[in-house]
């Protein structure tokens, strides 16, 4: 009976793994095909089924006809995502600590309302925000710039950081802050020396969420830029013409997903080391 359950478990894991990995393998083989290789029926094994070609990959870094330069958008995307995530994490953590530890009262408005106000920024559909953002960036002269996108992305990512960190700080007992103050820390030192080191797991989770949401955004990257600045998701979509170039789309999709995979592996290693103990 036990062996049967084990078999069932292994089978389930295999099915799920195939489900997750297959699209990547598909994209990987497709990225090494030419137009004929893609449209000529299903083929899987390189050199046997089809003749691999680097054309799609060269097209992403070249300057010839039908090719784009993906390096520029990639760097812009990294800059925008990392800067916006960092700013959101810093501001969000400070805001969340305040909301978790001190009570604010303005008439009927209290802490939970403020927290909800932050989170509510993500409830409405992005379209609602597109026009105001467009106008505001226009006034500031920041349309079609990396800085403008960073500001907008902070607005988008801050609620996520606040939300995750408020929850996390609420799990850290208030007595820990109090003990730190009794032991000679000012409130800011208590935050910096005691609470923050114990909030690292929360910071990691909030940081990952920020990076994922920032990296994957297409809508604002699309509406707030024209020619000077381009982010990766927009560059990838712009590959599309009258013929869908599956081969270069596959190659660029793989490039696009690589940083997230790297982040996932780094975080997994970190969590492995023991986030429970806090700082190493």
């Amino acid at each position: 009976m036990r062996a049967f359950y084990l078999l069932l478990k292994v089978a389930a894991i295999l099915v799920w793994s195939a489900f997750v990995i297959a699209p990547f393998l598909w994209a990987l083989t497709t990225s090494f095909k030419t137009a004929n290789g893609v449209t000529g029926g299903p083929t899987y094994i390189p050199w046997v089924d089809y003749q691999p070609s680097l054309a799609a990959w060269q097209g992403l870094f070249g300057s010839g006809a039908g090719s784009i330069d993906i390096v520029g958008p990639f760097i812009s995307s990294v800059m925008v995502t990392l800067s916006a995530s960092l700013v959101s994490l810093v501001l969000g953590t400070l805001a969340a600590y305040g909301l978790s530890r001190f009570s604010y009262k303005a008439g009927p408005v209290g802490n939970s309302d403020l927290t909800f106000f932050f989170v509510s920024q993500r409830i409405m559909p992005p379209v609602v925000l597109a026009i105001p953002f467009f106008l505001m960036l226009g006034w500031l002269g920041l349309l079609d710039t990396v800085l403008g996108l960073i500001i907008v992305y902070v607005a988008l990512l801050l609620p996520i950081a606040v939300w995750v960190m408020v929850d996390f700080f609420n799990t850290i007992p208030k007595e820990l802050d109090e003990t730190a103050m009794i032991d000679g820390c000012t409130p800011i030192e208590a935050f910096w020396r005691v609470i923050l080191p114990n909030a690292v797991p929360g910071l990691v989770v909030a940081g990952i969420f920020c990076i994922i949401f920032g990296w994957n955004d297409f809508f604002f990257a699309f509406t707030l830029t024209f020619t000077q600045t381009q982010l990766l998701p927009v560059a990838i979509v712009s590959l599309n013409s009258s013929v869908t170039p599956w081969w270069s789309l596959s190659a660029s999709a793989l490039i696009s997903v690589t940083p997230l995979i790297v982040v996932a592996f780094l975080v997994e290693r970190y969590l492995d080391k023991g986030s429970i103990g806090g700082r190493k």
Partner: protein, 356 residues
């Protein structure tokens, strides 16, 4: 040369946590704050520590306003009921944390660390993280951190309540030894357990619903509780209270149970009273009052019986293990010489049994 607390009030929303506390505390020694859960013990300690600002009232040491000094400069130590240590630091780093904050030299830190580690037997645990320690060890670390620094007063908020029975007894004895040799600091010890208060000796302050019910030497408070509230807080199990009267040279409780008026009630005028008798003074046997056992508990070396009497419930505590089944009929003897008498209306003490 005292701490002077005057008319301290703490309210939160519609709740009143402290309601006009006025007290004088000595500069050294042990003061036990007793009261049930939510009586205001923790709030009082937090105000003393500087963690909670009172809505009104003053707190002074030799005329110096302590309320103006924030917690991080007030030179206090505090130990919580939950074991609060810094999870990200080792035991050693936990203990020296306040010393480093105070900017002591490496020499002084090493000396103080050595002293306090030996005092609390933490030598072998210095490299571990708090999460790797048992509850008793964690509380020792918290205690070490509060003892290692130079403090004017030390606040302990039910420090033993989360420990198991055996550890509690062991650590309680250690605490008494530490406080006795502890030198020139005031120790404020909050507890719900009268036994702990008696063991700590010194002054006791009874809190109830944010007010001081009674303050004084613990033996005096035990012998002469000011009213029925003090009597029930400062005895465990709570003192039994029964309605009765003194009339025609007789003392009556309930219906038809009478006896001669004991010596210490001789001067009381006739009338209705609330009589109190400690659970440990209720005796079994004789041709006394009939009662039914509602619940029998055996706690270590003592037996506690919850009894149903015709005129109310009563608790009996006796040394030794005496098994009784629920529903058993027993005969009780209530020695009037051990009775306390409280005024039937004001519930204040009017007469207490003499000290043996």
């Amino acid at each position: 040369m005292t701490y002077r607390i005057n008319n301290l009030c703490v309210r939160q929303g519609t709740e009143t946590h402290l309601d006009g506390i006025t007290l004088d505390l000595p500069l050294s020694g042990v003061v036990t704050v007793m009261g049930r859960t939510l009586a205001g013990k923790t709030t009082l300690l937090k105000v003393l520590a500087g963690l909670q600002a009172p809505d009104s009232g003053t707190l002074e040491r030799d005329g110096r306003n302590l309320l103006a000094i924030p917690a991080w400069r007030r030179r206090v130590g505090m130990v919580y009921q939950q074991f609060v240590n810094y999870p990200h630091l080792s035991v050693r780093e936990n203990i020296v944390f306040p010393l480093k904050r105070a900017g002591l030299s490496a020499d002084a830190i090493a000396r103080k660390l050595g002293y306090v580690t030996e005092l609390l037997g933490l030598g072998e645990l210095l490299r571990r993280r708090p999460a790797e320690l048992s509850g008793g060890q964690q509380q020792r670390v918290a205690l070490a951190r509060s003892l290692v620094k130079d403090t004017e007063f030390l606040l302990l908020d039910e420090p033993l309540v989360s420990l198991d029975y055996k550890l509690r007894e062991q650590l309680r004895d250690e605490l008494r030894r530490i406080f006795r040799d502890g030198g020139d600091r005031l120790v404020v010890y909050a507890t719900t357990d009268p036994l702990e208060a008696m063991i700590m000796q010194g002054q006791v302050i009874l809190l109830h619903e944010g007010k001081v019910v009674q303050a004084g030497d613990c033996r005096d408070v035990y012998r002469r509780p000011a009213n029925t509230t003090a009597a029930t807080i400062f005895s465990d199990p709570p003192m039994n209270l029964v309605k009765g009267e003194i009339a025609d040279g007789h003392l009556r409780i309930g219906v038809g149970v009478g006896s001669d008026v004991p010596l210490h009630f001789r001067d009381l005028p006739r009338g209705a009273y609330l009589f109190g008798i400690r659970a440990s003074d209720v005796e079994l046997g004789g041709s006394g009052i009939g009662a039914r056992v509602a619940l029998a508990e055996i706690n270590g070396s003592t037996t506690v019986l919850h009894l149903e009497l015709p005129f109310g419930d009563m608790v009996l505590l006796m040394e030794g293990v005496h098994p009784h089944a629920i529903g058993d009929q027993v005969a009780l003897n209530l020695p009037p010489s051990r009775f306390f008498a409280f005024d039937a209306d004001s519930q204040n003490l009017v007469a207490a049994p003499p000290v043996d």
